[in-house]
């Protein structure tokens, strides 16, 4: 190489190194920018939220009391917390119960054509607009409510309450307990209003199912072929192979899916807007039910300071629940 062309090559190399530094720097900058808001939000919520909880009466008050009216000075999210816990638990249980077999189906039966159709369906549903899911449940609910109450739930709750009437004849000392139960049961079972906790739970279930299904499917799909063949060979029945032998291999992923899915639906608001609707009081689950995200949604948009403050407190509580679940999932997964 001539001296001149050698110099030219060195300049080109230097230029490429410069572009290398600038380009990688740009990518790093963009990556960091993507993550910075997380810190901003978490610190904002906790700083204002902890302050809020203190100013509204302290943690215990906040977790159990009714929400503040515009003129109160203290209050809490008691009813909302109960609603969130109830609907999230129901939604998560049903979501796993249906999502897991569904995931096994699309993960294992890859050769069946229908499985691929179902897989496409699940992929489409997994990040579907959640408000649409809520509207769907609302539509079905309003269509079915009258008849559901008249033919099923009405007679059922009548039967259960009248159970409380004739058992004392047989079980004397327990009739206090029974009549106590009789008071509580209508909170859970009975004729449903248009807005109720079960509709909310169903909406949450519909959101959780595709999520659990997809992660289960990829957990089963990533089982190496030799292991799968060994499982089928030693287990006899297919049921045993998939659910007993392979359990160890997939349980971690499925557990992570269950935990993360639960965290996800605990924070959902839109699907609850037209199903649970929201409630400021402790009330039966057969009627409108409150939830923590719903309260944040409502209170943040009011003009009243005390309610806005309580929204931040609620956000801090919600964030804590979700962060806890997330960290547990990351550690165990």
């Amino acid at each position: 190489m001539t001296a001149k062309s050698h110099d030219r090559v060195q300049v080109v190399d230097a230029e490429r190194q410069l572009i290398n530094w600038l380009g990688l720097g740009l990518f790093a900058f963009l990556g960091v920018v993507a993550v910075v808001p997380l810190f901003l939000i978490i610190s904002d919520v906790y700083i204002k939220g902890i302050d809020a909880i203190n100013s509204l009466g302290g943690l215990w008050v906040f977790l159990t009391e009714l929400p503040p009216t515009p003129y109160d000075e203290s209050g809490g999210i008691g009813p909302m917390l109960v609603g969130t816990l109830y609907m999230t638990a129901l939604g998560a249980l049903l979501g796993i119960a249906v999502g897991f077999p569904l995931g096994v189906y699309i993960g294992e039966m890859r050769k069946e054509k229908f499985a691929n159709v179902a897989r496409a369906g699940v992929n489409v549903l997994v990040e579907f607009p959640t408000i649409v899911v809520g509207l769907f449940v609302y539509a079905v609910m309003s269509l079915a409510k009258e008849d559901l109450n008249r033919y099923m739930l009405g007679p059922l709750s009548n039967a259960i309450s009248s159970l409380g009437e004739w058992t004392p004849r047989f079980i004397g000392p327990l009739d206090n307990v029974i009549s106590l139960l009789g008071e509580w049961i209508p909170w859970f079972i009975g004729p449903l209003d248009g807005f109720n906790a079960y509709a909310g739970a169903v909406a949450l279930t519909l959101i959780m199912i595709p999520y659990v299904a997809l992660i289960t499917a990829s957990a089963y799909a990533s089982v190496e072929q030799p292991l799968r063949e060994a499982a089928y060979a030693t287990a006899g029945r297919e049921f045993n192979a998939l659910f007993v032998v392979l359990r160890k291999a997939v349980s971690r992923a499925v557990l992570t899916a269950a935990l993360l899915g639960t965290a996800k639906i605990a924070g959902e608001t839109a699907p609850l807007l037209f199903t649970a609707f929201g409630n400021f009081y402790y009330a039966p689950f057969t009627g409108p039910t409150g939830a923590v995200p719903l309260w944040i949604w409502y209170a943040a948009q009011t003009p009243y300071d005390v309610q806005i403050v309580s929204a931040y407190g609620a956000a801090a509580v919600l964030l804590t629940i979700i962060l806890t679940i997330f960290i547990i999932a990351r550690i165990r997964g």
């Binding site: 530094w21 380009g23 919520v45 924070g267 608001t269």
Partner: protein, 312 residues
Amino acid sequence: MLGFLLIVLLIPYLIAAYALLLVKLKWGLKQFGALIVAIIGLLTAMFFVEAYPIIERDGLAVFLEVRWDPVRESYGVLQALTGTILTSAVAIALAMPMALGVAVTINEILPARLRGIFGSLVDLTATMPTVIFGLWGLFVLGPFLQDAVNFVSRSLVGDDVMTSPYTLFTAGVLLAIMITPYAAAVIREGYALVPKPVEEAIYAMGATKFEAALIKLRYARNYILGGFFLALGRAMGETVAVAMVVGGNFSRFTTNIFESGITISSLIALQFPNAAAYQYMVPALFAGALLLTLFGLAINAVAIYIIQRGQI
């Protein structure tokens, strides 16, 4: 009656499906697959049914006009449709570079120990409740953006361009922060799939790290497209966070992103509580929901198709 039958039949169906799992596994599993397909079909059908009254009365005008006049029972969701498109466009334009940045940062720049933590941070952003994003947007991001944008516009055109903190632009920026992790997850997956032999060949040709990253991104272009559509679908469907910062402008048509606006999903969320009082508002909102559903189905289907085609 129909709805009641649906619910009543669902419970025995589920019980049968579980029982089948124990007896003949494959059939049992298939029932769950059928269930999910049935749900999608039912969903679309129900929205057609609920939206029918206003489509019957106005035809396609409900999608093409700008109007929200409950008193005169006259509705058109065009301004919401425009809002959805504008906010999604802003969101995806900001989110894609960030998602690419995340993928390259994790795979090329960070040392091995930090990769897991950084990845978890990005995933955590995806798990954050949208209502908390909305809360932050309402009290922190909105006012900040208003100050920042007006500062720039005062020096450029001598005037305040954003008169309210709550505009389509605010919603777009907030959406960008929320959808970046979704695109990033897909792109990361594709980027990691570049085979080691191909990576060796790239470096053996004397590529710098940046040049190698660009070549790898080109290799993973199907995943980038897939992430694009997934994030876009998410942006179009997001409701609560957008509703809290978009400004709630129901009736005036605007294409200026620095003005308040409305999107289809936030329209439904904000107007539904009133809707029962009017005769045609509920069907109008369901018409909007139908539009969202069809968009959601189409975009997600495209995303899946692109990702799967790249896998072959």
